[in-house]
Each structure stands twice: as structure tokens, then as C-alpha cells.
């Protein structure tokens, strides 16, 4: 059974009178441990698709199944539980909690899921080069450092699926490469599947698969 199955997925945004279809008929399958890059023009609906997969938003038609569980059948609490246990999220904005330290941010999801493994957390910190900053607050870190914390937080609970939306969009090229490298390494080690939205074709090429989104469909 594939980890993620998307069938005939459709989603439109409604603002006021206006209805703007974004995803029209998306089909996609992702196996456990597989890495997938999604590219597409700005505004093509990449982030939207990622949000739907992450059970952060509802869709109009079709179905998303995560490890066989159809998302359409879940209520808000069920979706929250699913995210907590099975999905790691890395966004363009780092989305760290400003009043928690680096170490606390790193462990946040794992702790909430009741899966905090101190050894793994320590290793994550070490490999992401965050050990020195453990007691600092996010504002006291650089952008790359902050994004590394976000990646660590997403992987701390060892989720089977990591969703990343242009994680290095805010970073310079060198930093970006280093952060991505680290992320791929960790994904590899944990055996998580990766669904990465990116603009970089070069990066996309390094993943198992590369798909392109345009006009609401996977090309």
C-alpha cells in the first residue's frame, strides 16, 4: 500500500463573489521512503496542494489517503492527530515559537506526540549544528539556523511523511544548499517520505521523482 494516494483532487478558493479554481484534477501516489519534488509556476497551487496533503485545509472533490486513511472522513481533531503523529511540516517562514528556546522548539512536536526520544533529539541537534544554540531563542538565530530548527522539529517525532514548502526560499544559495543537504540526509536516515515544493529544478533532479504542476493538474 502506498503511503500517500491522491485521486481526482480538486480545490477552489472563494473570495467574495469570485470562485478561483486552483487544483482541478490532481492524481498522485507516493510510496513510503520515496522523495518527490514538485515544481510549478508561482501561483500554480503547489502550496495549496501541500496544505491539503498536510490536512491543514479541506478540499472540494476527490480524495487524499494517508497510509490508507481517507482525509475526507476526518474531523478537525482527527486531522490534528494525524498531523501530530504522521506528518512533519517545514514552511518557508520558519514558524518557530518565539518564546521557546531552540531545544524546546526542536522537541515541541515530539513531546506533544508523546514520542520525545532524548538520544534522537540530541543527535538531531548535533547533526543540524544547533548544539551551540540550544538555549537561545529563535530571534537570536540567523535565517538558516532557524530553518534548521524547523527541519529538526519536523523530523523529531520521526514522521513517515515530511512536507516541505520551499524551505530555503529565504536563504542565500550556499546556505540553502547546506540546509537542503542536511534535510535530505536526515530524510534518508529516518526513512521518511519527502514531498518537497521547490523552484529549483536542479534540486528537483536530485530526488527520486520530479513532478510539475500546471493549470491545476500534474503534468
Amino acid at each position: 500500500m502506498p503511503l500517500l494516494e491522491i485521486e481526482h483532487l480538486a480545490k477552489a478558493y472563494v473570495t467574495g463573489e469570485e470562485r478561483q479554481p486552483v487544483l482541478e484534477d490532481v492524481d498522485l501516489v507516493l510510496d513510503a521512503g520515496e522523495t518527490l519534488a514538485l515544481t510549478g509556476e508561482s501561483g500554480s497551487g503547489k502550496s495549496t496542494l501541500l496544505h491539503l496533503v498536510g490536512a491543514l485545509d479541506g478540499f472540494d472533490a476527490g480524495e487524499i489517503r494517508l497510509a490508507g486513511t481517507p482525509l475526507s472522513g476526518l474531523d478537525e481533531a482527527g486531522r490534528a492527530r494525524l498531523r501530530l503523529a504522521s506528518i512533519g511540516l517545514v514552511f518557508q517562514q520558519f514558524n518557530l515559537v518565539p518564546s521557546l528556546t531552540v531545544a524546546q522548539n526542536l522537541a515541541l512536536q515530539a513531546r506533544m506526540a508523546g514520542r520525545a526520544d532524548p538520544d534522537w533529539l540530541a543527535e538531531l541537534g548535533q547533526r543540524l549544528g544547533l548544539s551551540r544554540f540550544a538555549d537561545r531563542y529563535p530571534q537570536q538565530l540567523s535565517g538558516g539556523q532557524q530553518q534548521r530548527v524547523a527541519i529538526g522539529r519536523a523530523l523529531a517525532a520521526r514522521p513517515p511523511l515530511l512536507l516541505a514548502d520551499e524551505p530555503t526560499g529565504n536563504l542565500d544559495e550556499t546556505t540553502s544548499d547546506r540546509v537542503l543537504e542536511l534535510m535530505l540526509e536526515l530524510v534518508d536516515d529516518t526513512g521518511a517520505a519527502l514531498f518537497l515544493v521547490t523552484h529549483s529544478r536542479q534540486l528537483a533532479g536530485r530526488l527520486d521523482r520530479h513532478l510539475h504542476l500546471s493549470r491545476g493538474r500534474i503534468a
Binding site: A80, L82, R83, L84, M112
Partner: protein, 801 residues
């Protein structure tokens, strides 16, 4: 999951200790002031209840003699005729310079005796001293003991303050009035076939039990007043809480979203946020209760003084931690917090996980809020107006005041926005324009604090105007009414007569001050008898009168009544007034009589003596040339061995009256100042919390070339300007409040209406104070801005997204 989430929420406060401090302080202040008022009220009420249980005055019918005293034989005659009555001998004894009311009772028949029953472990009192025992409340007992009388004093909490109870045999000795009684208490359960009173004791009059408990009734309005002030303080405190809670929710939006995205269900988040709030409310509430206890403890003596001075309610208010007001205080804290956080919680419930700038912008529309506030404010004012037009009474008065204050508070932000818009239009130069516009933009964040300031200022102006008007009236009235140059009090009637005779040839006039305490319509009232003298004709402050008023009083064809009597009984000149069984007189005039809780009547002395032959003849006003006052007073003291306090000149009486007056409004004043302090604090905290949000706005200006000192100065100026505008709006509000207090609430509460005087000097002081408070509040943020390292301002740009 809950623990981690709660810890995450709480981590915010660790990073923003000032905010936490503000929140807790706001809660503590709100709860504290409220609790203090509740505690004072609860204690005062408890003490009335005790007093009622103690002396049961007014609850039983009494038999009194028309000539003042009842011989013991008459008591025995009544008893042997089947009348079940119990004797009381009442008088004053002086211990350590303070008068104690001594109540001599027969423990065998008195209903009071059960309050004196022994407690465990008291069986071993010294038998020799046993019949020389006084029973008194703790404070009075202490005073008697310290006077070293050799009498045994037993403490009974049930005995009213300032009173001592003794066996009638001891009392007649101490008072030196053997064989006489003051009155008889008619006991319940009278036997059958008892002869009528007239047949047994023709000289006695029966006074029926009064229905209402006078102290409770009289002081009800006072407590209502306090409660209203307490509520006002609470409301002002809540503004602080609202501001900080709102800010804390605002600042944590990102955190909430992150938690949701990670997998915290929305309901769970809401529950945890609620739990956090309640915990904070409990903490703040507990601190508030401690604070309230302290405030109450500080105010209680003044409250007791007020009650005594204004209402004659003798109370010994101790302060005990009562579960009642502790629970009420915590309840108010919780309720208040929830109220203040309602908006934040509502928004949190509807918080979308995915934030887009568009969605955020849609939730807030400054203009809509202002329009809503303006409408609600007008509606509130309309309600207040219609209530006062349609209803009267104390409650209507308070509804009016509440509506007025609420409406004005709601109208403040739109009004200020209007003023600022006008300012922006008139402004010259880009910086000034920016300053006006920016101030206007800042308004939503500051408006709660400014509302608090408005309320506090208005209350201050209103209450201040009321008190000052009262004082001005009172002083004028005293000048008018206290005409006699000297006031003399004799120790006995015989001495009184001797003094009278001695004075007669030496002075212009001796005016006896004699009165009978009685009940009219079941309410306590005093009937004074006066001689016809130009002193009264010229000076007595009449509010309303019939033609030939003084002639008619002099010839016993009419009676004067005081204003409170006239208002409470709805009497006016021309109405008939039943003074005693078979004695009616038309009302011919109404006089103002401030500071007196009771009904008072003035009739011709001869007429009074005819009905009440025994009224004491011990007090005199003496008209004499001012330069002879001192010699005369000295002569009186020498000749009759009178203590200093028995011969008082006019100035001393005035000073004493004014002292009582000042005491009366001390509590009001103290609460007023506290409320103003809270409002000042509200501004300070608002400005401090806004500070973090201000930086991004100031940074571009700094980048454009405005120096930090200049920016700081502008910040300061802005705060002062807002406070100034608020003060301008508070002025009419405060005066309306003063009018309501003087014309509606005081009339209900005290029974007299006072003219309103304006005191612009006080306003100036208050205005200066408000500006100073605003300047001080802005000083810290301004100083921080002044000291902000450029790096921090730069960071603003780095963070800007």
C-alpha cells in the same frame, strides 16, 4: 500533549514579564478595590446585624414617661397588674474622657440577658466582684478597664460598641439615679385580661416597635454608594486586564498557529488557553483579595466614623476574612478575566491554521469598530437619559450614572479619532502629518486605557464637585445656623436651671436647647422646643415657609421640620403633622439640616413642655458680645465646675462639625484617588505594551532621518496630547456625574438636595495631574526609544515581512 502545549503558552509570559506583571497587577487592582468595598460593606452589615441582636432597639414596644423618668413603683404597679414589662435605666458614664452608654437591666426579665450568658470556663469569676460587673464589647471593655474603676468588666461581643450593660442595681448607683427608670420594654406574651395602660399607669406612653431596622435602612444608600464606587474601580481595573490579555493573544497568534499546524486540535487549544487564563485570574484574584483586605483594613476606621457621624449608627467594624467576600472576589476576578478575554478567546476559536495576510486584514476594521462604538455609546447615553426622565429613586440614579459613564467611555475613541483627523487636516509639514495620522492609528491600542482614564477623571471631577459643593453649602449653613456665641451643657437639670438663672442677667439672651426623642409614624424623630427670639427669626436657614412662619411657631400654631423629614414624608408647609397622640400641628416651614440622619421638628418650647414635661434642660445657646465670650466661659467653668467640653464657643463647634464632615467623605476620597491611580497605571501599561509594536513604525522614520531624541519627544508629546483631549471630554462628563450625585443620589441617600458649585481650580489641578500621569507613563517607552541601539531598529527591517 496538554502539558507541553500549556507550557508553550506560558513560555510567552516568561519572555514578557512586564506584560505578565501588568496583567496580574490589573487583575489584582480590580479585584482588590472591589473586594475592599465588599469587605467593608459585609463587615458593616454584620455589625448592624449584631447591633440589632444586641439592643433590639425598636423591635419591642416601649413604655416611656411623658416627663422623662419612670419611678420603680410604677414598674411594680404595672407588673402586679399583669403587664409583662422589663425595666431599663439608661444613662451616660464617662470613662477616660469618653462617654459610655450604661444600660441597667433586670437580668431576670430582660430579653437582653441571654446575650450575657456565661461561656464555658467562666464559672470562676470572683464572687465578691460579681455584682459589680459591667458587660461590654471588647473595645468598650478595654476603655472601662483602663479607666481603673474597680468594676469587673466582662467582654460580650454581643454588646453594642460604646455601651455597657449592668444590673440595674449597679447602674442606678453608677448613674446616681436610684429608684428611677428610663423606660420599660413591653415583653411578648402578655397574659389575658390585663387592664389597659391608662388605668394602671396614666403617665406612660406606649411607643410601638418600628418596622424597619433604622441603621440598615439609613445606611443602605451609603453602601450602595460604596458598591458603585467599587464597581467603577473594578471596571477601570478590567480595562487594564482587557488590554493586556488582548495584546497577549495578539502576540501569540503565530504560536497558536504553529501549535495547530503541528497537530493540536482547535478545541484543545481553546481549553488550554482558558485554563491558562483561569490560572492567571486565580493568581491575580488571590493577590487582589490580599490587597483588598489591606485597603479595607486601612479604610474601615473611616467608614465606621462616617457611619457614626452621618447616620448615628454605632458600629465597631472589625475586619474578618469572611468566605463570602473572598469567594465573591475570586468570582469577580474569574468573571472579569473571562469578560476581558472574551474577544481574544473568540478570535482564537476562529483562528485559521493557514494565515494569509488577506484574512488578517479582513478581521480588523478600525472604522467599523469606531462606528460600532459610537452607536453603542449613543444608545447607552439614550438609555441613561430616558431612565432619568422616566423614573426616580436611588436605583434609577445609579442606572443613569452607569449609562452615562458607559456611553461616554464608548464614545471616547470615535470622538478622539475625529479630533485627530481634524488635527491631521490642519497639520503642516510631513512629520506633523505623520504624527497625527500615526496617533490616530495608535488609538485602538490605547483606547481602553484612555477610557479608563476618562472614567477615573470623570469620577474624580464628579465626586470632587459633589463633596466640595456639599462642603461649601455646609459651611455656609453652619455659619448661618450656629449663631450663639457660646454653647453650654449642664450636668443635671438643676444645674441647668442654676446656669440659666446665673446667665440671664449677664448676657443678651439665653436660648435653651431642649428636645424630646420620640417616634413619629414609627420612625425616630426629635422634637425641639425653642423660645421666640430674633436669633431664630433672622438666621434660621429656611428652605420653604408659610406666611408669618415665626409668629406661628411662637404661638404654638405651627411646627418647622427639617428637609430630610419633609422629603421622606412628603410634607410641605400647610400639611398637618401628628406629633404625639392628640397633638397635631400644621407644618409652617422646612429648614435645611445637613449631617443629621434623623427627622427633626421645631415647636414652641412651652408647647413641647406641655406634652413632654420631663425633657432635659441642660443645654443652652448663649448670645453675648463676642469680646465677652472668653470671660464668660471662664466664669461659667469656675462657678459651676463645668469641664472644658461643656462650655464650647462657636468656633469650636464649627471646627468639630467640619471635622465630622471631612471624615464622612474620607472614604469616598480615598477610593477616588485609588481609582485615578489605577487609571494612570492603565495608561502606563498600555503604552509599555504598545511599545514593542511601535518600533516597526518608528524605524522607517528613524531611517528617513529623524533623530531618536526627536522621536522620543514626539512619543511623549503624543501621550500627553491624548490625555489632554481625554481630560477635555471628561470635564462635561464629570459635571453631569456631579449633577446626578447632588440632585438625585444624595436626595435619596441623605434626604437633602444641595446646590452645585463649580471649582475650576480643582479641575486645573486634576488636568495637570492627568497630563503628568500621561507624561510619566510615556516617559519610560520614550526613554527606551531614546536609548535604543540602532542595531535594534535595523533588525526591524530584517524581520519585516
Amino acid at each position: 500533549m496538554n502539558g507541553v502545549a500549556l507550557a508553550t503558552l506560558l513560555s510567552h509570559w516568561r519572555r514578557h514579564p512586564l506584560q505578565l506583571f501588568t496583567l496580574i497587577t490589573g487583575l489584582a487592582l480590580a479585584t482588590g478595590l472591589w473586594t475592599a468595598v465588599q469587605a467593608i460593606n459585609a463587615e458593616a452589615r454584620a455589625s448592624y446585624a449584631e447591633a440589632e441582636a444586641q439592643l433590639a432597639a425598636g423591635r419591642q414596644a416601649l413604655l416611656v414617661a411623658r416627663d422623662g423618668t419612670i419611678p420603680v413603683d410604677q414598674y411594680v404597679t404595672l407588673r402586679r397588674a399583669g403587664w409583662r414589662v422589663s425595666p431599663v435605666l439608661e444613662g451616660e458614664v464617662e470613662y477616660n474622657g469618653a462617654a459610655v452608654t450604661l444600660l441597667g437591666i433586670d437580668p431576670l426579665t430582660s430579653p437582653l440577658a441571654r446575650h450575657l450568658a456565661p461561656t464555658d470556663g467562666e464559672a470562676g469569676l470572683d464572687p465578691l466582684a460579681a455584682r459589680r460587673t459591667l458587660f461590654a464589647g471588647p473595645a468598650t471593655a478595654e476603655r472601662i478597664r483602663s479607666a481603673g474603676t474597680g468594676l469587673q468588666v466582662v467582654v460580650r461581643d454581643a454588646v453594642a460598641p460604646g455601651t455597657a450593660i449592668a444590673d440595674i442595681g449597679l447602674a442606678e448607683t453608677l448613674l446616681d439615679r436610684p429608684g428611677t427608670l428610663s423606660h420599660l420594654v413591653v415583653l411578648s406574651a402578655q397574659p389575658r385580661g390585663r387592664p389597659p395602660l391608662d388605668a394602671v399607669a396614666p403617665g406612660l406612653t406606649r411607643i410601638e416597635a418600628s418596622g424597619a431596622h433604622d441603621a440598615r435602612r439609613l445606611t443602605r444608600s451609603f453602601h450602595l454608594n460604596l458598591t458603585a464606587l467599587g464597581l467603577l474601580s473594578f471596571a477601570v481595573g478590567l480595562f487594564i486586564v482587557q488590554g493586556t490579555v488582548g495584546l497577549a493573544f495578539e502576540q501569540r497568534r503565530g504560536m497558536f498557529r504553529t501549535l495547530r499546524a503541528i497537530g493540536l486540535p482547535a478545541r484543545r487549544l481553546l481549553a488550554i488557553a482558558l485554563a491558562e487564563l483561569l490560572a492567571l485570574a486565580l493568581l491575580g484574584g488571590a493577590l487582589g483579595i490580599a490587597l483588598g483586605y489591606a485597603i479595607a483594613a486601612a479604610l474601615v476606621p473611616d467608614v465606621a466614623a462616617t457611619l457614626r457621624g452621618l447616620y448615628g449608627a454605632a458600629v465597631d467594624i472589625g475586619l474578618a476574612l469572611r468566605p463570602g467576600w473572598i469567594a465573591a472576589g475570586l468570582g469577580m476576578a474569574l468573571l472579569g478575566t473571562l469578560l476581558a478575554a472574551a474577544q481574544g478567546l473568540w478570535r482564537l476559536r476562529r483562528l485559521p491554521v493557514l494565515a494569509t495576510a488577506r484574512a488578517e486584514a479582513a478581521t480588523r476594521s478600525n472604522a467599523t469598530t469606531l462606528r460600532f462604538q459610537a452607536l453603542a455609546g449613543l444608545a447607552s447615553l439614550g438609555l441613561a437619559g430616558s431612565v432619568i426622565a422616566g423614573l426616580d429613586g436611588l436605583v434609577a440614579g445609579f442606572v443613569f450614572v452607569a449609562g452615562l459613564l458607559l456611553g461616554a467611555a464608548l464614545l471616547l475613541p470615535p470622538a478622539l479619532a475625529g479630533m485627530l483627523a481634524l488635527g491631521a487636516r490642519l497639520a503642516r509639514g510631513p512629520v506633523a502629518q505623520w504624527a497625527w495620522a500615526d496617533t490616530r492609528e495608535q488609538l485602538p491600542g490605547l483606547s481602553l486605557a484612555l477610557m479608563a482614564l476618562l472614567l477615573a477623571l470623570a469620577a474624580n471631577i464628579g465626586v470632587g464637585t459633589m463633596v466640595s459643593s456639599f462642603k461649601q453649602t455646609f459651611t455656609g449653613w453652619l455659619d448661618q445656623r450656629l449663631v450663639s456665641e457660646l454653647y453650654v451643657t449642664a450636668e443635671t437639670d438643676a444645674q441647668g436651671q442654676a446656669i440659666h438663672d446665673w446667665l440671664e442677667p449677664r448676657v443678651d439672651a439665653v436660648l435653651p436647647i431642649r428636645h424630646a426623642d420620640t417616634r413619629i409614624d414609627g420612625r425616630p424623630a426629635a422634637i425641639y422646643g425653642i423660645v421666640d427670639h430674633e436669633t431664630y427669626r433672622r438666621h434660621w436657614p429656611l428652605l420653604a415657609s408659610a406666611p408669618r412662619v415665626w409668629d406661628r411657631v411662637a404661638t404654638a400654631e405651627g411646627a418647622l421640620i427639617n428637609e430630610q423629614f419633609a422629603r421622606r414624608a412628603g410634607l410641605a408647609p400647610g400639611d398637618a403633622l401628628p406629633l404625639a397622640p392628640g397633638w397635631r400641628l400644621p407644618v409652617v416651614g422646612v429648614y435645611s439640616d445637613y449631617g443629621n440622619p434623623d427627622r427633626q421638628v421645631i415647636v414652641a418650647l412651652d408647647a413641647l413642655l406641655e406634652r413632654f414635661p420631663g425633657v432635659a434642660n441642660r443645654q443652652f445657646g448663649v448670645r453675648v458680645a463676642p469680646d465677652r465670650v472668653e470671660t464668660l466661659a471662664a466664669g461659667l467653668r469656675d462657678r459651676f465646675g463645668l469641664p472644658a467640653r461643656s462650655v464650647i464657643d462657636q468656633a469650636a463647634v464649627k471646627a468639630h462639625s467640619l471635622a465630622i464632615f471631612d471624615k464622612t467623605f474620607l472614604v469616598t476620597g480615598a477610593l477616588n484617588v485609588l481609582t485615578l491611580g489605577v487609571a494612570g497605571f492603565a495608561i502606563l501599561t498600555s503604552l509599555l505594551t504598545l511599545w514593542t509594536m511601535r518600533l516597526p513604525r518608528l524605524a522607517p522614520l528613524w531611517a528617513l532621518g529623524l533623530t531618536r531624541p526627536r522621536l522620543a519627544a514626539m512619543e511623549l508629546l503624543r501621550s500627553v496630547a491624548l490625555a489632554g483631549l481625554t481630560f477635555l471630554l471628561a470635564l462635561p462628563l464629570g459635571l453631569s456625574l456631579a449633577w446626578a450625585l447632588l440632585a438625585i443620589i444624595n436626595v435619596e441617600a441623605f434626604g437633602w438636595r444641595l446646590p452645585m458649585f463649580l471649582f475650576p481650580g480643582d479641575w486645573l489641578t486634576l488636568g495637570a495631574l492627568a497630563l503628568l500621569a500621561a507624561a510619566l507613563a510615556a516617559a519610560l517607552p520614550a526613554w527606551r526609544l531614546y536609548r535604543t541601539p540602532p542595531a535594534e531598529l535595523l533588525e526591524v527591517f530584517a524581520d519585516e515581512r
